[in-house]
Point group: C2
Chain length 377, copies 2
């Protein structure tokens, strides 16, 4: 069976996808290493120590890239979060998370049997995480049970907000609480130096932000936590229990490796990406779309309110799907089908000429349905 | 960066790899769906419900193929085992496993905080699992704590032994203990109908036996256990906690789907594969290699004792690596580098002509080093 991916040639502004488009090397690697277990041709027992293909060298370079003592490959960012939480979990313990956290952070905690306490954000329209809230929430939560971990989503996937990580980490460390940075939307897009930030753990996502096939993640940590999180099996002394002995031993890893040179280069051009995102925001605001999240914005993940589209959706046959359909006609992919009140979009690695086509599309759609927005007198 | 896979064109008899060679469709699918999160183009919240690409339809057909009420895609067979064990785990509880179990079964139990009790095998040379041992071991173990699960490795990866699953399952059910079949080496090679066997859980491996890129697994179960293992998040009601909301959303899944038609057909030709494996065993025995595991053998995974090679290794410069090197020269891949005392080999999907080349290679190597085996008088 072969299934064509119809949107493959579309302009892609899907926040989940702009950072995961493969490089040409990665695409070639897919075919070369596609067969099951080919990565294991010469494995001597541990994925991160395989020399051919050069996984070991890659993992060492990745540790440098993330500024972490120890790095492992995981099946995804969420699996990295779970591994950490599951290792640190105790009865009646708590994890403190920012209120913009990804759903998988909550699920990882739930699966690990941890209670979750939330640090608030400033609400509409910026939804900024209140950095100082971490101290307050830890203070309160400690009365109910031990706080074993804090998670900061950096940035979050709802608004693309980048809180002051250093400040959060310092505050948590004051209470002896280790911090995990969820960098699914940053590692591979912008520079993230966990060591410099003094983060205890960092997770990244290959398919989300490192030009890699999925699913695959990276997990970095300080040496002192490796003893706990990467503890070895009692019976199989060379296998790490929390990784079940081995993780992403397949093409996702080979594409992650293939794209790594490109990724290391592209993070240096992050400022250009932020500038382009801001330019795009300006154009959207001129059309009457309101940006949610930090202003000025510091990330390519943009969330716009679009009451005009919502009004239209109430009056057209396709209902909420009209926007998706109009964009599809124009070969633009990435706005979630059914959404009109607000929508997320990413400008990451999308050339300005293509973003102009997207802007033009929104303009055309607004014009086409103008009579539905302002009913004629 | 691009890395060539040097052994790609070799004759491959690696037990980990013979069942994971991609079909042509799967290879095309790799490139078509390689970009990160492309599987999620039209996801509405659950991987197994995606209609485009047709994941939903595939998962339904997979349930039929496995004869299970409910099926999910996992990051691998081990992750499926862990999900089940973690869901059923209690304090001071036990899992009973056969003593030929894969290391990842022990790691899954260890990670889930379960104690492990082992059902013995008959020892050298057949290492047959004593089916009636399950009742005995459960009986004994119950005195120490609750037995929440039994695992039968079907077949095991050491000897390729296929115990009488029905008998084991019946015995365990007599004690109210649910049974998980670890079918990493069977689902996709031979017919496995979990329902017919009355198994409560079954795990399979895409990259090991379903002509798929890795890592990816399948997890099937009876409806009554879906409530426990696939319980939903308290906060995110449409997300399954034990799967952290989503699993193998990438090319491994697309290759698994692409190869499924082929896999359904090939399991019908299993008897031919067994016959070929037995023919190969016969030829090996003629050369003085002794088969470990069941005789007559019922699987393509073969483990031979080779004291001749061990003797040679003590007298040559390459030591234990001489065998690997001799085979590499002949473009044969799959015997673990360094092994000589005994080695595993798989004949699965390897054409007879190629197996003849492998047999010839062994013969040549024995002849070349004959003087090292029987020292001249």
């Amino acid at each position: 069976m072969f299934v064509e991916r119809k949107v493959r040639e579309f302009i892609n502004v899907d926040p989940l996808q702009t950072g995961g488009v493969l490089t040409e090397d990665a695409r070639r690697m897919l075919v070369e290493w596609g067969d099951g277990y080919s990565v294991c041709d010469f494995c001597e027992g541990n994925l991160h120590e395989i020399r051919n293909p050069p996984v070991k060298e890659f993992v060492q370079e990745l540790a440098e890239f993330l500024d972490c003592d120890v790095v492992r490959i995981t099946n995804g960012a969420r699996e990295g979060k779970f591994a950490v939480m599951h290792s640190l979990a105790k009865r009646n313990a708590w994890v403190v998370v920012d209120s913009n956290a990804h759903y998988s952070t909550y699920l990882a905690a739930e699966r690990a049997g941890l209670n979750v306490a939330e640090v608030p954000n400033t609400g509409h329209p910026e939804f900024r995480i209140v950095e100082d809230g971490f101290a307050e929430v830890i203070e309160e939560t400690r009365k109910k049970g031990e706080v074993v971990l804090a998670v900061l989503t950096y940035p979050d996937g709802k608004y693309g907000n980048l809180p002051d990580a250093k400040r959060v980490i310092r505050a948590c460390h004051d209470y002896g609480v280790p911090v995990l940075l969820n960098c699914a939307y940053s590692v591979g897009r912008m520079e993230v130096k966990a060591g410099k930030l003094d983060a205890d753990f960092v997770v990244g996502s290959g398919h989300k932000s490192m030009a890699s096939a999925g699913p695959i993640g990276v997990l970095g940590m300080k040496e002192e936590f490796a003893k706990v999180v990467l503890r070895r099996s009692e019976r199989f002394g060379n296998k790490e229990v929390e990784l079940l002995g081995c993780t992403a031993r397949g093409v996702p890893l080979m594409t992650l490796m293939a794209s790594f040179d490109h990724v290391r280069e592209r993070v240096k051009r992050w400022e250009e990406e932020v500038e382009k995102a801001r330019w795009f925001c300006g154009k959207m605001e001129e059309m009457g779309f309101g940006l949610l999240g930090e202003k000025p914005h510091n990330h390519d993940l943009l969330h716009f309110e679009s009451p005009q589209f919502y009004e239209i959706s109430k009056r057209v046959k396709a209902r909420g799907y009209f926007l998706y359909k109009e964009l599809k006609k124009r070969r633009i992919h990435g706005i979630k089908p059914g959404r009109t009140r607000s929508f997320k979009i990413s400008t990451y690695m999308v050339p300005k000429e293509k973003l102009e086509i997207v802007l033009e599309a929104f303009k055309e759609i607004l014009e086409k349905y103008q009579s539905f927005i302002t009913p004629p007198k």
